[in-house]
């Protein structure tokens, strides 16, 4: 193997390389983590700008700003950029920064591959973005890329597919690296069942990624050969079946949404105990619940396709299997609540975002339960109800937890304290506006508004306007986060942060035993004491 651990004794004296080149050639997990996080933040704003275009067009009935084709490109690109450019890379960034420090390792197991997977991500996203400027426009078939519609894409199709390949390879390399790090780099005494929840959830997520990204790559490759090489995997004319694509896609797609939520669970399970000043309730049941959610994610895919025309046995099986997910998910929510119960809570910004996550994610879970019921899903399917559902499980869940993680670890990463007042302002603006943005979409869906439409009947006008107003406030509020990140990097409040940053945090996890900011190379000698407060 060419990629080996960069662990030599003489590295002790080496700091980072000088100048910009440092960031291009770096194999340091902290540098790469930073790159991932900043790139994800940038893409969060790019994807967010697309969402603003969507909400602006939907502000009022009638077509005011964009043509329907471009609107469809926007919904497609918004989803692809947010999923593959923002949320997934942000969690990989957190993994890069935190996993080695949490398990007492000096770096990731495969540092050079780590660098490569980041730059491949950048290449993939840039390639995807370039399709916006191609003849025929960017893909406009929804992020699910269903054939035969996706085959009507103009010049962009092969580029979009190649970009998906790059993003897939990048994720797979990241996942392999994380598994290798967790399996082979743990400090002595750091047994699997002593690992922080964040490490556990990422371990399970990495296995999900390895299992599903190749399947997705296969599916889009089949699209490519169907379009250009006369295969007919999905073309009825040659004996194929377009519905087969949906089965393959959702075999990838359902675990994929859990790739975005499992690390979220991990961060929440890390933050809540610290601010409740209590151990996490039911550590081992949390691990098992995460594993069972991951397992179930492989056997429920067709609940995305209840209306596609399945035999009754299929409908019923996928309904029952999907309902089962409510049980381990419920266990998680109950455990978080029990962790807070009789704690000694304080409400700094990371805790605020985490509590909002628990509440709002649970609401997304409720609508998920409602949609698991197949006959009722015949009404909900492909309406704004589902749009509200998955945005509740992604924005005030994954995105909020990413914000929480930012506030939680920024002082550790930079050695500077963020401005708590602005942090709280950011929280309150976000939590209020995100509900103004997405809650009315439940009403729209129930009232009969389909998703992915650029214009709508006038009875949907009022809720759409409210939703758009919420969207604009939410979008603008995120600029505060950008400000805080920059401000904190530059020095923040100027307050000297301790190694622990948060009261007794070092009892929970190893990273708080390091100085703030941690040295460029940390844990070159493994830690001797393993914190156990979190279990």
């Amino acid at each position: 193997m060419s990629a080996v651990v960069a662990e030599h004794d003489d590295h002790h004296d080496h700091g980072p390389a000088k100048g910009l080149l440092r960031w291009v050639i770096t194999t340091n997990h902290k540098d790469i983590g930073t790159l991932y996080l900043l790139f994800a933040l940038a893409m969060f704003f790019v994807g967010g700008a697309m969402a603003m275009v969507i909400r602006a067009e939907l502000f009022e009935p009638g077509m005011q700003f964009v043509n329907p084709q471009f609107f469809n490109s926007m919904t497609t690109m918004h989803a692809l950029v947010m999923v593959f450019g923002a949320v997934m890379p942000a969690f990989v960034g957190l993994a890069n920064w935190m996993i080695p420090m949490m398990i007492g390792a000096p770096d990731m197991a495969l540092p050079r591959m780590n660098n490569m997977s980041f730059w491949m991500l950048v290449a993939g996203v840039l390639l995807l973005a370039s399709t916006l400027f191609m003849e025929g426009g960017a893909p406009a078939s929804g992020w699910t890329l269903y054939p035969p519609l996706v085959l009507q894409t103009g010049k962009a199709l092969p580029f979009a597919i190649f970009s998906v390949h790059l993003l897939g390879i990048s994720s797979i390399m990241g996942a392999i690296n994380i598994i290798a790090t967790i399996f082979n780099m743990r400090a002595p005494g750091m047994t699997l069942m002593k690992m922080p929840m964040f490490v556990w959830t990422w371990l399970i997520t990495a296995f999900l990624l390895i299992a599903i990204m190749p399947v997705f790559a296969g599916a889009v490759t089949m699209l490519l050969t169907d379009k250009f090489f006369h295969t007919s995997f999905f073309d009825a004319a040659g004996g194929g079946d377009p519905v087969l694509y949906q089965h393959i896609f959702w075999f990838f797609g359902h675990p994929e949404v859990y790739v975005m939520i499992l690390p979220t669970f991990g961060v929440a399970s890390t933050i809540i105990p610290v601010f409740a000043r209590k151990p996490l309730f039911g550590y081992s049941s949390m691990v098992y619940a995460t594993a069972s959610i991951a397992f179930l994610s492989f056997i429920v895919w067709a609940h995305h396709m209840f209306t596609v025309g399945m035999p009754i046995a299929g409908e019923l099986y996928f309904m029952y299997a999907t309902m089962l997910i409510a049980i381990p998910t419920g266990v998680k929510v109950f455990n978080w609540t029990a962790t807070m119960w009789k704690g000694s809570m304080t409400f700094e910004t990371p805790m605020l975002f985490s509590i909002a996550f628990v509440v709002l994610f649970t609401m997304g879970g409720f609508t998920g339960l409602m949609m698991s019921v197949a006959p009722v899903d015949f009404q909900y399917h492909d309406t704004y109800f589902i749009v509200a559902h998955f945005h509740y499980t992604l924005v005030p869940a994954s995105v909020f937890i990413l914000m929480a993680a930012g506030y939680f670890w920024l002082p550790k990463w930079t050695g500077h304290m963020y401005d708590e007042r602005i942090g709280r302002l950011h929280f309150w603006l976000s939590v209020v506006s995100v509900n103004i943005l997405f809650f009315p979409q439940h009403f729209l869906g129930l009232a009969g508004m389909p998703r992915r439409i650029p214009d709508y009947a006038v009875q949907f006008a009022d809720w759409n306007m409210i939703s758009s107003i919420g969207g604009f406030i939410f979008g603008a509020s995120q600029l505060l986060f950008l400000y805080i990140v920059i401000d904190t990097i530059k020095g923040g409040t100027g307050e000297k942060v301790t190694d622990e940053v948060w009261e007794d945090a070092a009892k929970h996890s190893l990273e708080w035993t390091l100085p703030s900011p941690p040295p460029y190379h940390s844990f070159t000698t493994p830690p001797t004491v393993i914190p156990t407060e979190h279990i």
């Binding site: 392999i176 399996f183 082979n184 990204m213 009825a236 004319a237 079946d241 519905v243 399945m310 035999p311």
Partner: protein, 180 residues
């Protein structure tokens, strides 16, 4: 100890790369798996695409099943296509032949393929065709029209609750792709 980690990493990476390749293959394996699943469960109303041998069943005179015929043309398939009858009542076990008429509306040779679909999907395994124009691509000369038979039987083992079966054919113009 350091060497140990490197070797362990290399071994683990190898294993994981095999898993990745395996899963890529699995994605492709889903294609034939899906066809098998379709035939077994009647998922999506896919029907067997080859003829079965004509075996005689005991005709169940006490039951009658309505078989409806539907014809469709994919967009930009310049043809005329219809069934000679709308629907027919059959007894399970009895062989029936129904004629379909298809005509090429262009001045060029056309290669077209009729894709069958059956609903409810669960009856697919009881619906046997001994002869059908859908088993292979059909070549039509310019402006040629012809009558094509479908011979089928409904297996008497079909569950009692099924009283109507819809058999649909959609013609797709494959001239461009089958030139090769």
């Amino acid at each position: 100890m350091k060497e140990g980690v490197t070797q362990k990493n290399a071994k683990l990476v190898r294993t994981l790369v095999f898993v990745v390749l395996g899963m890529f293959g699995f994605g492709y394996a889903l294609v034939p798996l899906y066809d098998v699943l379709c035939e077994v469960t009647g998922l999506n109303g896919k029907v067997e695409s080859s003829a079965v041998k004509e075996v005689s069943y005991e005709v169940d005179k006490n039951r009658e099943i309505t078989v409806e015929f539907m014809t469709a043309l994919n967009e930009a398939t310049p043809m005329v296509f219809r069934s000679e009858i709308n629907k027919i009542k059959v007894h399970p076990g009895e062989y029936v032949t129904v004629n379909f008429y298809a005509e090429n509306k262009t001045d060029k040779v056309m290669v077209a393929r009729a894709i069958p679909s059956i609903s409810p999907g669960a009856v697919a395994e009881f619906f046997k065709k001994t002869e059908c124009f859908c088993f292979s691509e059909q070549t039509f000369k310019a402006r040629e029209g012809r009558t094509m038979p479908v011979r089928f039987v409904v297996n008497p083992e079909i569950p009692k609750e099924y009283k109507t079966i819809t058999l649909a054919y959609t013609f797709f113009d494959n001239t461009e792709t089958s030139v090769k």
